[in-house]
Every structure is written in structure tokens, then in C-alpha cells.
């Protein structure tokens, strides 16, 4: 297998990284909202939040992607397949991140929140300044694993015609008749990306640990 082919794969992996990063970002925002709704204690918002989490954790991502891809035009939203793919990935990771965050919030020591109460922080300020940052620090390892999960899962967006690393590998494999080295290289590139992400996660944990009682 030539370097040119390998280079094509590396270029395509840039798209994998972009789609994953965007999905993780939006997924996190959505997850924070879902988690807030779930923990709000108000059934009117907690129920739908829990249903959302249950659905997106309970069904294969592949089917979510296809469903969203075909459903959006039906409800009058004609968006490019890249957008549909990112929506699918975001919803999926949001449901996992929401569960992770919920665990994090439930592990925030009660006394630390009471101290915020005593200092007069409003519920909103307590959430934003105290509970959220502590919960995120507690959940960094799990969030890192989830980021790696999404990087791997992003290989599925090839089914709705989005070009990324796996699509490129598939195309090159069938046009060059060299599936073995090409898929192995694709796997290698995923591995490298994920090792970097894992390293970043460890680094983030270590720098956050300084701020841990």
C-alpha cells in the first residue's frame, strides 16, 4: 500500500475528528440540559428527559442515524446529510453523557452545596459555579471514554453518505483491492486518535486533581 493511500486516510480522519468533536460539544450541552431536567424533580420535564435517554441508549446508533436522516426531510427539514449525521451522533452521546453527569451530580458532596447555600448563592449560581464544575471533574474519566466511544461510533455515519475515515477506507479498499492494509491502516489511525484523546483525558484529570479535596 502506498503512502498516498495512507495520506488520503489521514486526511479523511480529519473529518472524523471534526464530526466527533462537534457532536461531543453539542452532545455535552444537550446532556447538561437533560441532566438538569432529570434532576429538577419536576415530572413534566424529568419524564421526557428520561425517555430520551432510555431511547437513545436503548437503540443501535446505526438505526438512530438512519431514522434521523430519513425523518428530517419528512418533517420539512432538508438538511445536508452531514448535519443529520451530527444530530444523530449528538443525540446519542448526549444520552450517555447525561447519565454520566447525573452520576457525577449525585456524587457532589452535600456539604459543599450547603456551604454555597449558606454563602447566599442562588440555585442557579450554585449549579453553574459549584455543582457543575465539581461534577464535570468527577466524571472526566467517564467523559473521556465517551469521547472515544463517539470517535469510534462516527464510523457509522458513512451509512448516510457522509465522507470520513471509514468511508474513505471502504472506497479505497474496493478500488485498489487491498482491503487488508487499508482497513488495518484505518484501524491504526483510529487507535492513534483515541490514544491521544485518552492522553488528553488523563492530562485534564491530572490538572483537575490539583483542585480536589
Amino acid at each position: 500500500m502506498s503512502w498516498e493511500l495512507f495520506w488520503l486516510l489521514v486526511e479523511a480522519s480529519g473529518l472524523t475528528i471534526v464530526y466527533s468533536a462537534v457532536s461531543i460539544f453539542f452532545g455535552f450541552l444537550l446532556a447538561a440540559a437533560i441532566c438538569g431536567a432529570d434532576l429538577s424533580g419536576r415530572a413534566a420535564v424529568a419524564r421526557p428527559a428520561r425517555l430520551f435517554v432510555s431511547f437513545f441508549r436503548g437503540t443501535p446508533l446505526l438505526i438512530q442515524l438512519l431514522l434521523i436522516y430519513y425523518l428530517l426531510p419528512k418533517i420539512g427539514l432538508n438538511v445536508p446529510s452531514e448535519v443529520a449525521a451530527v444530530i444523530g451522533l449528538s443525540f446519542s452521546t448526549a444520552s450517555y453523557q447525561a447519565e454520566i453527569l447525573r452520576g457525577g451530580f449525585q456524587s457532589v458532596p452535600r456539604g459543599v452545596v450547603e456551604a454555597a447555600d449558606m454563602c447566599g448563592l442562588s440555585a442557579r449560581a450554585t449549579f453553574r459555579r459549584i455543582r457543575l464544575p465539581i461534577a464535570v471533574r468527577l466524571t472526566l474519566p467517564a467523559l473521556t471514554s465517551e469521547a472515544i466511544m463517539i470517535l469510534k461510533s462516527s464510523s457509522l455515519i458513512s451509512v448516510v453518505g457522509v465522507v470520513e475515515l471509514t468511508t474513505m477506507a471502504k472506497d479505497l479498499a474496493s478500488s485498489t483491492y487491498q482491503p487488508l492494509p487499508i482497513f488495518a491502516s484505518a484501524g491504526f489511525i483510529y487507535l492513534v486518535i483515541n490514544l491521544v484523546v485518552a492522553g488528553l483525558g488523563l492530562w485534564a484529570e491530572r490538572s483537575a486533581r490539583r483542585g480536589h479535596a
Binding site: 437503540t59 443501535p60 446505526l62 438505526i63 431514522l67 464510523s155 477506507a169 487488508l180 483510529y190
Partner: protein
């Protein structure tokens, strides 16, 4: 609704049913073989020589660090190019989609399960193993009578989750044309231009299976919880 029921009779119904059966076979066999492979890997890494541990660790990291779809592609499309020359004759890893699917799932599950079991081994208090040695159990007896039962309690919830993950991964195998549930429903959806309907139904079926599995897991956990060791 009548049209939906129409699908369940006749040819389509038979295809959907066979797809569902295949999905369940892939799921169950993948989980079982994966458990065995994962357990052997964990044991080999724990009791085997250092180089074996390193080698297996590398394998596990590679499998956990790459997408299942790429692994499936590699096995299915790359397999035929993976040949072993033996005295003039050559044998290649040519697999039909279903075989590739089972093999892929087993390897994938094995890697994750091995990590679960390793964590399980580590979570068993050293004192329990020492206690077994003091009353005269040998290594194998200790493993079978003490470590295994205790570890089952510890890793059961994670194993149920892993099994659910595997069920969802089986859908990916439709991409290498394994004739499982998603593959079969997909065909009908394509033929009738009923994509949204097809994928909605698929989602609901998987959701139901996952919920069922989760509930069964929690039930088993509750039933077994009285064997859980007392915390000191």
C-alpha cells in the same frame, strides 16, 4: 395498521422473523463466546508470563480503540487475503458474512469482557483468597470455588451492560450483509419506500429487547445479591 399487519404475514413476515432469530443468535453466541474468550484472556494476563500479558494487553487496546465496523470490514473483506501457506497448500480466512459476524463479535466482546474480569479479579479482597489458601484449597479450587462466584456478583451488572452494547452492535453487521433483523427490515423499507416506518419499527424492537435485557439483569442481580459478600 392493516398494512403493518400485512407485512407480518407471508414472505416478509418470514424474513423479518428469520432476521430477528439471527440477531438473537448473534447476540447470544457473541456474548457467550465473548465471555469465555474474555475470561481466558483475563486469566492468562493474570497468571501467565509477563510477555503474554503485554501481548494480550496490546490486542485488547487495539480492539477497544478501533470501531467495530472497521473490525468487521477487516475480517470480512480482508480475511480472504489473510492466508497461511502450509507445504504448498494455502488456507485463507474466507468467511461468509455470518461467520465474520460471529467471529468479529466474539473478538470484540472478548476484549471488553477481559477488562471487566480483570477489574473483577482486582476487586476481590486479598484476604478472601488468603483465607482459601489457609483452609487448604489449591490454586484451581480457589479460582473455581472462591474467585469465580465472588467475581460473578461483582461484574454481573457490567456484563449485562456489555451484553446490551453487543446487541446494539449486531445491527452494524447488516453493513457487511449479515442477514440479521436490520438487514431484513431494511430490504422491505427500501422496496416500499417506507424508510421512516422501517427504522421506527426497528428502533422500537431493539429498544424493547434492551429494556427486557436490562430488566432481566436487574432481576438476576437482586436474586443473587444475598450471596454478595458482607462488607467489613
Amino acid at each position: 395498521m392493516t398494512s403493518l399487519l400485512g407485512y407480518l404475514g407471508g414472505e416478509d413476515g418470514r424474513n423479518i422473523l428469520s432476521g430477528l432469530v439471527n440477531t438473537c443468535v448473534l447476540w447470544v453466541v457473541g456474548t457467550l463466546l465473548g465471555t469465555v474468550l474474555g475470561f481466558l484472556t483475563a486469566v492468562a494476563r493474570r497468571y501467565g508470563p509477563r510477555p503474554i500479558d503485554w501481548l494480550l494487553k496490546a490486542c485488547v487496546e487495539v480492539i477497544r480503540g478501533t470501531p467495530f465496523l472497521v473490525q468487521a470490514y477487516l475480517l470480512y473483506f480482508g480475511g480472504p487475503y489473510l492466508c497461511l501457506e502450509l507445504g504448498g497448500a494455502s488456507a485463507c480466512l474466507t468467511l461468509d458474512p455470518f461467520e465474520a459476524g460471529i467471529l468479529g463479535l466474539t473478538i470484540y466482546a472478548g476484549a471488553y469482557f477481559s477488562e471487566l474480569f480483570r477489574a473483577g479479579f482486582d476487586a476481590i479482597p486479598r484476604g478472601h483468597i488468603e483465607a482459601a489458601t489457609t483452609v487448604g484449597l489449591d490454586r484451581w479450587q480457589t479460582l473455581r470455588r472462591i474467585i469465580l462466584p465472588e467475581m460473578t456478583m461483582l461484574v454481573l451488572p457490567a456484563m449485562v451492560n456489555m451484553s446490551i452494547l453487543l446487541l446494539k452492535e449486531t445491527a452494524v453487521l447488516s453493513i457487511i450483509s449479515v442477514k440479521e433483523l436490520k438487514f431484513q427490515v431494511d430490504i422491505i423499507g427500501n422496496r416500499d419506500y417506507a424508510f421512516v416506518e422501517a427504522f421506527t419499527i426497528l428502533a422500537l424492537v431493539y429498544w424493547a429487547l434492551v429494556e427486557l435485557c436490562g430488566r432481566a439483569g436487574r432481576y438476576a442481580e437482586a436474586r443473587l445479591s444475598r450471596y454478595r459478600f458482607a462488607h467489613s
